[in-house]
């Protein structure tokens, strides 16, 4: 099994200069087994899903950047305290539409992983060049 690399600040900022820094690869995912549905009155339902993996400040910033890049991602709200993402929908929406929303959320998370990994690489390159 691949070792999960947790790109905490210590990995990026406090490096031993005698060896090359390990590449940082973010691998956050939505744990669908934590999915919770909550009724918000007659008009809306909220779904919350917990995140697993190396969620840190860099990843959260990347997620917010990806989220603002597409209108369809804006409804996915990240709770920085609980590391959960939630969204609302109308109870009348077909199940297939809700499943499509969850698929879209998975895409936003993978794009955030890509963004955070690229950002961490840029930081490492800057430090190596300094």
């Amino acid at each position: 099994m691949a070792r999960m690399l947790y790109p905490a600040r210590t990995d990026i900022d406090v490096m031993d200069n005698s060896k090359p820094p390990e590449p940082v690869v973010y691998g956050v995912w939505a744990d669908h087994s934590t999915l919770k549905r909550e009724s918000l009155g007659p008009l809306f339902v909220r779904i919350s899903i917990g995140l697993r993996g190396p969620v840190d400040g860099h990843w959260r910033d990347s997620y917010l950047s990806v989220r603002s890049d597409l209108e369809a991602f804006v409804r996915f709200t990240l709770d920085r305290e609980s590391d959960q993402i939630s969204f609302t929908f109308r109870p009348a929406e077909p199940t297939a539409d809700v499943e499509a929303l969850i698929e879209r959320l998975d895409l936003a998370i993978e794009l955030a992983n890509l963004h955070a990994t690229a950002a961490a690489e840029a930081i490492q390159r800057r430090k190596a060049g300094a």
């Binding site: 690399l5 691998g27 890049d69 879209r104 998975d106 895409l107 963004h115």
Partner: protein, 92 residues
């Protein structure tokens, strides 16, 4: 450069495979998120091949291709790419 290459003149970049608008949008998003050009080309090819198969099977137009299917394909591709990078990073 051999004689054949000189006769053909400068090589043109291959024309990118046309995708449904959602596919193009996903590629643009992935590019802005940091997907490298080589992987983006690979993902485009995967989406194109899948779309062609879908259209042949269901005799539908490009507009008939479900957005979620292209998203699922992209998620699966990005996860495979990430796991490969994690294996390399851990020396496995």
């Amino acid at each position: 450069m051999n004689v054949d290459d000189r006769r053909r003149g400068p090589r043109r970049a291959p024309k990118p495979e046309p995708l449904p608008s959602t596919g193009e949008e996903i590629l643009a998003l992935a590019g802005r998120a940091g997907l490298d050009a080589h992987s983006a080309q690979h993902l485009r090819r995967l989406m194109f091949d899948w779309s062609q198969r879908f259209r042949r099977r269901l005799s539908t137009s490009a507009e008939g291709i479900p957005d979620e299917a292209l998203m699922a394909l992209t998620v699966s591709y990005l996860r495979r790419l990430r796991k490969g990078e994690q294996r390399r990073a851990s020396g496995g």
